[in-house]
Amino acid sequence: MVVRELGEPLYRGAEAYLYEYNWLGMKAILKIRIPKKYRHSAIDDKLRSDRVFAEVKAMYTAMEVGVEVPTIYYVDPVQKIIIMEYIEGKTLAQLVREDIDRAEEYSYILGTYTAKLHEAKIAHGDLTTSNAIVSSTTGKLYLVDFGLANLGSSMREQAIDIHLFMRSLESTHPEYLEDMLRPFLDGYSSIRGREVLDKLLSIVEEIRLMGRYVEERRTVWGRK
């Protein structure tokens, strides 16, 4: 299977192309990780394989712990291909723009998903409103794109998930930062408790003070 034969991708992401694909009569998504000439070939090949494995393993674990993800149909680690269920719907990012009230409800669910994954030691690694899809058929929220997932995550890596989600709000939906963040954190603490969340938030704060030029400490997450 080569990219040429698949025609024009449905979505051209940074590291992978997504194609609509017919898998044994089912409408599916074929995700293929494209080699990058800007990476040394030895690094590139290993990285793409690692990400295919990480994605598949993380998705299986997610399913086991009650996080909705597309069902995986087929994996080819040599060609860096994953074929999975096609989820018809909108991204949470789109929903924020169209219907903020509903988006807030899904943000709570996303918070519970994130906490369940973290309980299972999985850090998503790219937690944004673009990687959560609201199914138009079932109304369920699906979490996608686990390529940067960490399967034995530390508290710090879990804190980075929360940092990434906050940042996706700050950069993409700055006007709804608080509206979206509150339910997310409430959903999170409903699974793992306030104490764990507070500990993670203090790590988030450390990370933000370290890598960034921060003028003043922000308090959007309701502490202090």
């Binding site: 990058k36 800007y38 690694g125 993409t172």
Partner: protein, 361 residues
């Protein structure tokens, strides 16, 4: 003592009228800008009339051992400032009386170094009766980059000693889409080079010593590659590379340099690529001190091909710290009437780009 480095002609591909249609380009305005945030003391002069950037003069502090010491950088700036300033004026033929305003980088940067530029700017402002214009150093990198590449709305990868940032305009500000979770790309390369004994000097004939060391290897040592969302993390990479170096024989050392360089550059380019896919911008700009690296530029071009966007970067002299960018950004502010009083002009060491309004856009 080295001479002051001067340049007075840069090509400007499209008229600033097109880039900044909201500003009144019929006014005759000249702004002198002062840069002193880190190792460079620079003075530039910008005008609303061609050739827009009239002069770019600078003197750069180069530590004999170790890294940048803030107080030594400040003492260098204090010693060299009068000469840089004088040469900038002489070279451009601009009299200080023709200057309408003094722009100064008030941050982000090293406190002691910043204060030298701020003090000189305040002095010039008060003594000659010129308006004072506050400029954010990082924003200045972005604006001069847009000017010399003719880009209106790029996804920007800003890489320097202290910054690794993926940013673009969204909702009236430069929003930060990604950045480093720990240390910056330039800091990674410099710290590694210093710790293993390759530096100082850090740059030899326009190339970083880590790039040079990597030239003798074909196969990289595999080191941890960490990308999270649109963020990179380099502290694990630094530790792993230094540990590998201590264990390595002479022959394997270039392979470690190559491994470090390849992982660091690729991960940085990857987050920019993710930024482009996310924001759907049609052009992309590479700037900051590390943007002078020919190897990073090549990778950046290749990445732009995948995303079908136009890549661009300023000439090496303008991607690093310089006074011209402060003068240019100060000019944009001045055209909008943004000035500050001397007593309000304190330096801001941690002045974030996403806290700055961009009314000229």
């Amino acid at each position: 003592m080295e001479n002051v480095a001067i340049q007075n002609s840069y090509s400007i591909p499209i008229s600033p009228r097109e880039l900044y249609p909201r500003l009144d380009w019929d006014r005759d305005v000249i702004v002198l800008g002062i840069e002193s945030t880190a190792h460079t003391f620079g003075v530039g002069i910008a005008s609303t009339n061609p050739p827009y950037l009239l002069v770019d003069a600078r003197s750069t502090y180069k530590p004999e051992k170790g890294g940048i010491h803030p107080r030594e950088a400040a003492s260098h700036h204090t010693r060299r400032a009068p000469e840089v300033l004088r040469e900038a004026l002489e070279y451009s033929g601009v009299s200080i009386r023709d200057v309408d305003a003094i722009a100064v980088a008030l941050g982000p940067g090293l406190g002691p170094a910043l204060r030298v530029g701020a003090t000189i700017a305040r002095g010039l402002s008060v003594y000659f009766g010129k308006k004072l214009v506050p400029v954010n150093h990082a924003i200045a990198h972005l604006e001069i980059g847009k000017l010399v590449t003719g880009m209106k709305d790029p996804l920007i990868l800003y890489v320097s000693g202290g910054n690794t940032t993926v940013t673009a305009l969204a909702k009236n500000r430069y929003r930060v889409f990604g950045e480093t979770l720990d240390i910056a790309l330039g800091n990674l390369l410099d710290t590694f080079a210093r710790d293993v004994g390759l530096a100082p000097p850090y740059i030899v004939e326009g190339m970083h010593v880590v790039d040079r060391c990597a030239e003798d290897a074909d196969e990289p040592v595999l080191l941890p590659y960490v990308v999270k969302g649109m963020d990179v993390s380099f502290s694990g990479l630094l530790t792993a590379a230094e540990r590998a170096w201590r264990r390595a024989g002479e022959r394997d050392k270039p392979r470690i340099c190559l491994g470090l360089r390849e992982v660091a550059y690729s991960a940085t380019i990857e987050v920019a690529e993710r930024g482009i896919a996310h924001t759907k911008k049609r052009e992309t700009l590479l700037t900051g001190g590390v943007a002078a690296s020919p190897i990073l530029r090549e990778k950046f071009r290749e990445m732009a091909t995948y995303q079908r966007v136009r890549p661009g970067y300023p000439p090496a002299r303008l991607s690093g710290d310089n006074g011209a960018m402060i003068a240019w950004t100060g000019l944009l502010y001045y055209l909008l009437g943004v000035t500050i009083e001397v007593e309000d002009s304190s330096v801001r060491q941690r002045w974030r780009i996403d806290s700055v309004d961009t009314p000229w856009l």
